[in-house]
Amino acid sequence: MKVGLFIPCYIDQFYPHVGMAVVRVLERLGVEVDYPEAQTCCGQPMANTGCADTAKPLAEKFLSVFEPYEYVVGPSGSCVAMVRHHYDELLHGRSGFDELKAKTFEFCEFLTDVLKLERIEGAFPHRVGVHQSCHGLRELRLGSSSEMNVPPFNKTRILLEGLRGISFSELSRADECCGFGGTFAVAEEAVSCMMGLDRIHDHEQAGTEVLTAGDMSCLMHLEGLLRRQKKSMRVMHVAEILDAAAGEAP
């Protein structure tokens, strides 16, 4: 099984250790990983600003870069949702596009749905707060959203639940948006930051030591607020937790 690693641009630039954690976790699970260096950005910032024509060449580039792989896996629900749900109008009818949509997975859902993992070995003796990134939750349906009356499930949390020593903080608002929202974070700076701080307060009252998510972009925003306020809460991508936990394995 050959996986083409999709490392979103901002992770490539700002959070390389998250990408490396993904590589290590996948390789430990016996997956053959390859990172095609020609990749840059999926085009989501342009598409979400309404500039579809600007996003199009990036979508085309993405398609050609990842065409050779059996699977495409990325540690970002939002970017994977872009490929799976919003490339349609940009790449409709292109050869290989339907296959691309079907073979592109968010990191956690690749582990649960393709590798069919139910638990991962390791220990992470910390109180973890899981931030449900909106696009992972409501676009990719990586979990049940609090609005809907469906049987509860959560693909991110189920992977963490098997770690020894881990405990979870329970939030008063289970899956409210952190306020990142791409360019929203700067265009609506005031509301965006208020949303982020509200999430942080919710995690604080719930006793979160380590704040995690499947989407580094939400965490970039929340970490920015935490660091400015000099708070001690740590921010880790799910892949980083799984990677660190494996290091603790007996």
Binding site: M20, T40, G50
Partner: protein, 458 residues
């Protein structure tokens, strides 16, 4: 004004913005309890959506059927292409009956058409009888929410308002006391009214009847005392069969306020004995939405307000920051359809979290429609040029891997070496309350290459 700056003003009063957020979250929580208590909730949503889509696909036929049946029952059906015609029709009916005083129950359509100021200009007294609407009417402002029009006000402000207008005790803030004062004040208005005006929640093609839902009983009092009842509705309020009401009434109040049903769900089939019933069917841009594959579903809307209650942006920016009759997610779709130039900032007043889509009882894909609006606005060059140019420039870099990698190295180096004041300044909204992400020496692609090399050697 742009939504972002009005929202920033709202957020400045942190205590109040949080109070507003909590009030609405409380309503959302009540809604959740109702939705989770009903095993068939998702089936109801799907069924409601399908009924509306079915209706849209035969809207002409159903409107004619409705008109035929309503007329047979003795109602008079009017058609208005736009707000001006709607207002004129209502005014003409009132004039021909010598009406001076009208009591009105909640109708977002008449808000949309700005009926009140129109009638007042013609010397007719219009009294909004829904408590929340009466409050904002006395304040001479629009509603900030379609179900809870005065949700932006504190009881102290309402106490002061009532003291001034209704003569309540100075400093009184008890909701029970203030509501009682409004009850007495509005009783007089009900008893003195020459006509009752209502909105319409649902109109049934099969029977020619209309259904109006209230908790206060104001629509019923307002129509059972005066002989003249005028009901105003957008053409999308139609449903095919009476049995469909079973679906919609189960969803409406649960979604809106977390009640199992509104206190009064009143079914009017023709005028009452000795009375007159006029029904005004209004287009005002709705047929344009019908013709759009992208936005048609927004006509499903039953005006429950659930998308507002759940919207993290609405809760923190207040209804008035949208400057539209209908605020929040659904309003941000409807308003630009009416005037894209004026409302261009609304589809961007959204983090695309999708909570509105999941909460919507008629399954409008709200956040996708907002995204589609952004595209539409970009096509019409209504997205600020700075945003468009920035995106073009970024895409120009991102298209070329070598340029992207180079720009990344350069950018990160700058972030590491530049003095703080050159990074954190007024031109950097990210950095106003947030630190920028760390700027590591090596990007992932470099680390990955090193790692592979090391492994290759070992």
């Amino acid at each position: 004004m742009e939504h972002a700056s009005l929202a920033a003003d709202f957020v400045k009063n942190d205590e109040r913005a949080h109070w507003h957020d909590r009030s609405l979250w409380f309503v959302r929580s009540k809604r959740d309890k109702c939705a989770h208590a009903l095993p068939e909730w998702e089936l109801l949503r799907e069924t409601a959506s399908q009924i509306k889509l079915h209706l849209m696909s035969q809207l002409d036929r159903y409107l004619e059927e409705f008109e035929r049946n309503a007329t047979r029952l003795g109602a008079v059906v009017h058609w208005a292409s736009d707000a001006a015609e709607h207002n004129q029709i209502v005014h003409d009916i009132l004039l021909s009956h010598g009406v001076r005083k009208v009591v009105k129950s909640k109708s977002m359509l008449t808000e949309e058409c700005h009926l009140n100021p129109f009638l007042e200009r013609h010397g007719i007294e219009v009294i909004d009888t829904d408590l929340g609407e009466r409050i904002v009417q006395l304040r001479d402002e629009g509603p900030s929410h379609i179900v809870m029009p005065a949700i932006h006000l504190k009881k102290e402000e309402i106490g002061e308002l009532f003291h001034e207008h209704l003569g309540t005790e100075a400093g009184a803030t008890d909701p029970q006391y203030l509501t009682e004062a409004a009850r007495q004040h509005l009783r007089e208005k009900f008893l003195g009214a020459d006509a009752g005006l209502t909105g319409v929640n649902f109109a049934v093609a099969e029977t020619g009847g209309i259904v109006v839902c209230t908790n206060e009983g104001n629509a019923d009092l307002g129509t059972s005392l005066p002989r003249l009842h005028i009901a105003c509705m957008g053409i999308e309020k139609l449903i095919p069969r009476a049995a469909d009401l079973g679906v919609f009434l189960r969803l409406l109040a649960r979604s809106a306020t977390g009640q199992p049903i509104t206190t009064y769900s009143s079914h009017f089939h023709g005028p009452r004995e000795g009375g007159e019933l006029h029904i005004v069917l209004v287009d005002n841009g709705r047929t344009d939405l019908l013709g759009s594959d992208e936005f048609r579903r927004s006509l499903n809307c039953i005006r429950c307000g659930a998308c507002m209650n759940t919207c993290p942006v609405y809760r923190r920016s207040g209804g008035h920051s949208y400057e539209a009759t209908v605020p929040g997610p659904i309003g941000s779709i409807l308003a630009p359809a009416r005037d894209a130039g004026h409302y261009h900032s609304l589809p961007f007043a959204c983090s695309l979290c999708g909570s509105c889509t999941d909460v919507c009882p008629v399954k409008i894909d709200l956040h996708h429609q907002l995204l589609t609006w952004r595209k539409e606005l970009a096509l019409r060059k209504l997205v600020p040029w700075r945003k468009r140019v920035a995106m073009k420039l970024a895409a120009g870099v991102l298209k070329r891997t070598w340029l992207y990698a180079l720009a990344g190295r350069f950018g990160r180096a700058m972030l590491r070496w530049m003095p703080r004041f050159l990074i954190y300044h007024r031109g950097n909204p990210w950095g106003k309350q947030r630190e920028l992400p760390p700027a590591p020496k090596r990007a992932f692609r470099q680390l990955y290459r090193q790692e592979r090399k090391r492994r290759g050697q070992s």
